[in-house]
């Protein structure tokens, strides 16, 4: 008996919870792949936009679309991604995250080979830079590949709200990520091994606050970090109206009561709170930042500043070694690419971004003609 064919129900377009902007497009992707394609083709009308259709999943038969601009994207990257997608042979694909994991040449790599995005305007901007987009039916998240670290420093607001202060904001994001990863470890290292660095008044304040500590500093720090992670995980799955209640409990019980009865010291709670808040500065890297924070906390606690510095150098060299699909992960900082500095920490006005970023492999290096030259021809 044949099942009656019905078009599946669809969610209306809303602004996604990630990547909200003050000024700028607010449309977000939905779970229907056809709607998502329409949102992209609404913005790119050129026939250069190519879609390769694949069906993956023995039982789910999930429709996957690989999109790219034919005259911009590097054919070797298209070929490499396509060949990797064709190798996937599984029961089913439920979400783009399944594809993202399959695309990573090194399964144990800390960083993902593809970036996730929920907004069509961002996907279009990335396609125009030579990246590829992967859409999965049933997922409101679209992958772009290759993925570099700089994408986490850039934000849609940088492009829609003028150039003023963009450099400062991007620098703050970068510093924020460093604080999120290193601050608990640095605090432990300084308070356990290098007390002479701390100014005398601050040292006295810390000594007063940690005088009656129940646990050794490193154990206390691990407890507070674990509590923070538990609260974060609970808030994620909890109904929205209960989320605020959890926050109140977290603030008053953990922050106030635990510190006042001497279970946890106030400086440790403060350090983890600062580190926790700053970890949200890069939404796509929260998992990595959490893991690195924990590792550096242990390094700082056991090996002091020396261990922290050595660990940071090893992390930097490891991160610099990553090349997914021809794009160095730390480009355009390492390797330094002068042309791409126009939209790295600094952002020049759009008319000055003549060349396409070289950090992303592409076969069409010029993005636009200089305005003087264009206007002179009219």
């Amino acid at each position: 008996m044949a099942e009656p064919k019905q078009s599946p129900p669809e969610r209306s377009l809303t602004e996604p919870p990630t990547g909200q902007v003050l000024l700028g497009p607010r449309e977000g992707f939905v779970e229907s792949i056809d709607t998502n394609v329409a949102l992209i083709t609404k913005r790119i009308k050129s026939p250069d936009l190519k879609w390769i259709k694949l069906t993956i999943g023995k039982y789910t038969q999930t429709k996957i679309l690989l999109g790219y601009l034919d005259s911009i994207a590097d054919p070797t990257v298209v070929k490499a991604v396509l060949s990797r997608l064709k190798k996937i042979n599984c029961d089913g694909i439920i979400d783009t995250s399944y594809i993202s994991e399959c695309l990573n040449p090194n399964r144990k790599a800390l960083y993902s080979a593809a970036a996730s995005e929920e907004k069509p305007d961002v996907i279009v901007a990335r396609l125009l830079e030579g990246r590829l987009a992967i859409l999965v039916d049933g997922s409101p998240v679209v992958l772009t590949i290759p993925h570099i670290f700089l994408e986490n420093v850039q934000n849609s607001n940088d492009y829609y709200s003028g150039n003023a202060g963009v450099t400062l904001k991007r620098t703050i994001r970068l510093i924020g990520a460093l604080i999120a990863i290193l601050l608990p470890g640095f605090f432990l290292a300084v308070s356990l091994y290098h007390l002479s660095i701390i100014p005398l008044n601050t040292l006295a304040a810390i000594a007063n606050a940690t005088d009656n500590d129940l646990f050794p500093p490193i154990v206390e720090m691990i407890i507070v970090i674990l509590l923070f992670e538990i609260i974060y995980e609970a808030t994620l799955v909890m109904p929205k109206h209960l989320g605020s209640a959890t926050s109140i409990i977290a603030v008053f019980v953990v922050g106030e009561v635990a510190a006042s009865v001497g279970l946890l010291s106030a400086p440790t709670v403060l350090v983890v709170a600062i580190s926790g808040i700053t970890s949200y500065i890069m939404p796509n890297m929260i998992a990595q930042i959490s893991m690195l924070r924990f590792i550096f906390c242990l390094i700082g606690g056991f090996l002091g500043l020396y261990g922290l510095v050595a660990g940071f150098i090893v992390l930097l060299v490891y991160t610099a070694s990553i090349d997914h699909y021809g794009a160095p992960f730390l480009a355009p900082f390492a390797p330094y690419i002068a042309n791409d500095q126009k939209d790295a920490l600094e952002k020049v006005p759009f008319p000055e971004m003549i060349a396409r970023p070289q950090s992303i492999p592409n076969c069409n290096p010029i993005r636009q003609r200089p305005m003087e030259e264009s206007s002179g021809k009219h």
Binding site: I197, G304, L316, V317, S321, A331, A334, P361
Partner: protein
Amino acid sequence: MENIKRHQVINLRQLCLGYFLYSISIKVLTLPSTLAKGAGNWAWLSALLGIVFELVLVIVASLILKFTDNRNRFFRGLCWLLLPLIALEIILTATQIFQLAYTDLFTNLGITVFVITLIGLGMFFLTRQPRAVFRASEILWLFFTFGLILAVIPTLYQINVNWHDLVRGNGGQILSTTLINLGFFETATFVLAFGSETRKTNRDLIKLNLTALLCGIGYVVVMILFVLLFGSLGRHQTMGLVDLTTAAQFITNSGSMDWLIATAILAALVLRFGIQLVAMVTLVKRGLNHRD
């Protein structure tokens, strides 16, 4: 496709920055007091002599890079010849890291050995991709320059010029101190190993030699500053700048900075250790004519 290939090799900028970091880590951060122990007030002349030797060797290395194919027998033979030198330097650097960690931080021998092993394992793991270390140097040089400024600027405020200090004392130890302490063979090996990734033009080689010259001048200036500031440097027993800078006294009201400088020195040593390991692996690869 062209830009993909360009990022897969160590380029000239990375080589020059790597050289800067390497020479800073060897010389400015770790050697002043070692030289001073040998040559006393003449340490600056010992440094100058070492720089001259080094420049000559870097120029020779540059010429080898220019006129020799890095696949021929001569080049491969040279790589095997330099291998024991760099292996010896690796042992020396590991000893220095051990000394610094053991005397300045972990009085516990077990923890110190654990730290050194961790650093060694981490660095050995990373030797598989020499370009990664050089890419990282494009970021690290900023931190090192900042650390150096932090160490030198407070010192300049307290400098007490006495030019006679520069020529006082026994100069008999100058040459031996230079030969023992300055790793100029090591630096030439560095240039040969990593410079052979791509063919160098005359302009590239001039830039490389200029970098070597500027780093050398910078080092001699630093040495003169320290002799002028501290008179007989020989009395200082610890390594590098830790006791030589006045940063510790300068920040008396807001916490001492000497640990930060000691940390910068360790970072320099760790980086140097990493580069030496990578250089050794690269030399073996070149010696075996292995294609990257």
